[in-house]
Point group: C2
Chain length 342, copies 2
Amino acid sequence: MNKIVTLAGDGIGPEIMAAGLSVLKAASKNTTFTYEIDPRDFGGIAIDHFGNPLPEETLNAAKQADAILLAAIGHPKYNNAPVRPEQGLLALRKALGLYANVRPLKIHKKLQNLSPIRNVENVDFVVIRELTGGIYFGKHELNADNAIDINEYSADEIRRIIRFAFETARGRDKRVTSVDKQNVLATSKLWHKIADEIAQEYPDVQLEHQLVDSCAMLLITHPQKFDVIVTENLFGDILTDEASSLAGTLGVMPSSSHGDQGVSLYEPIHGSAPDIEGKGIANPVSMVLSIAMMLRESFHEIALAERIENAVEQAFSKDIFTQDLGGKATTAEMTAAIIDHL
Amino acid sequence: MNKIVTLAGDGIGPEIMAAGLSVLKAASKNTTFTYEIDPRDFGGIAIDHFGNPLPEETLNAAKQADAILLAAIGHPKYNNAPVRPEQGLLALRKALGLYANVRPLKIHKKLQNLSPIRNVENVDFVVIRELTGGIYFGKHELNADNAIDINEYSADEIRRIIRFAFETARGRDKRVTSVDKQNVLATSKLWHKIADEIAQEYPDVQLEHQLVDSCAMLLITHPQKFDVIVTENLFGDILTDEASSLAGTLGVMPSSSHGDQGVSLYEPIHGSAPDIEGKGIANPVSMVLSIAMMLRESFHEIALAERIENAVEQAFSKDIFTQDLGGKATTAEMTAAIIDHL
Ligand SMILES: CC(C)[C@H](C(=O)O)[C@@H](O)C(=O)O
Ligand SMILES: CC(C)[C@H](C(=O)O)[C@@H](O)C(=O)O
């Protein structure tokens, strides 16, 4: 029995988690894939219940899980609070050693006209973002008259994420773009050098370097050029959100985060959308596709993952879209359409 | 007599500088605007001549100038060199205290079809990037096993650039978007707080905050929404290059950098394009428009600036474009067309 810890979180989180789990239930019925769900408080809801966005119980459950599903966290009511939901997310990433964040980008034919970009045909890349190092986890010092953040990377932290990218590229088009700011930053100089070194171990994979500023431009002017992009934490945060603009919506993009400790986490790339909370109109697709990613990457249930992904494609082909995609379907209708096509 | 120091630099730099200066000469003929040009070595060429990308002589001349024109620096031959052209640029910014980098974005009707974005009509914003602080100028430490960069901002550094943005907004649509990563960085928390404070001094200007990741997305999905964007050095580097993708070309975008010491610097946002060096096909427009910016911002020669800007518009209206804009005009032909329409 596979144990899946679910963190529904805040805003539309619980709605899309429920939708995703109903797809998982329908898809796995009469298969050999069995699982149990262990729902836990995380983010804002955990602050309300425990005064802590990542309560001890939640962390322990997550550590013992076979996989973790996260929907979304955050709410404006915590904006000026001393403890914020996002701190739980950063703490969870660190505690589970989830150093490799994977965000694939590929745009369904039916959704290409939603893109602000004229030509997104054949866009098919994945961004691998380092998730547990860099300026996110360096010392932060806030004073009245100045503030300091420390950006630090060890060679080992860089090596493992670069290797992860080269391994990913082997399963794809065998091209890695390493992104840094080596004309200014010491951490980037080290990054650049290590990327060159690791490339020696992968003679079948082609490496190119891009400066983060150029890459931010090329993502829009030449998105077809990329296969696997690998970058440090802060650059990855910016570039993955930028890349999602190619899809014209955040509502369909899944992600996974992997560590060395075994358990991986799967989540939509979008936020908790408090403005549409409780209205029953949230798009469940990125949650559903995150579940497909989980089936493939944590449980090696390739057939099951493909069945779910195909069902989403089928529903789109029948012109069933939620509001964010220009359609009229509610969360329940979109979910039902996916289940119908399983 | 106004003294203009010119730094033609490397690659296509000397070609576009010559083109720009011939437009300036033609435009100012028979006007009261008089000037003398003091050309100086800077960047790669200065490394070759002096072993230093910013020689003493160049810096002294720049300090005494009424304005500085920079074309472009950099060449792959310095990629692994101990001293690099970019170091001269960073040193010049710091030595002249050029803390406010201004990059306007507006897309000529005739060029809108070059944009990778479907709809760039009415895009009209300016990015104000802090240019002399942050992680660019913190301590950098590069070791074999780790590397560290220090990101530091003082409250005063933040205050003056935020004020600069509010002042700029007063001359425009009176809206400022302050961009930070306040959910993670201490420097961003300070930035965010100071933006709120300064906003009190400008009740006629509207302030909104965006996280840098969201902003990277909105620049592509909703570019019309922005008026004045203000952000710190590294975010500004990434976001301005990203924003330039809206234009589909770097060839037409000027910039200015201002400090407290009086002298300002004007330069195209593009690089030295060594691949087309010496071919006579470089696009001179961003250099020409940088000269117009200089006339307006350093010399208050509004009519002269507009005359040059209109001449560029006219040349475009007659379908005269360089190769990067899909046309066939050489640098000389493009320049002549602009001069013809003065
Ligand atoms: C919520 C925030 C701390 C987080 C980050 O910056 O990593 C988010 O933007 C993300 O990309 O997952
Ligand atoms: C050349 C480089 C150091 C510079 C920067 O990062 O500031 C450039 O990218 C720019 O934007 O002017």
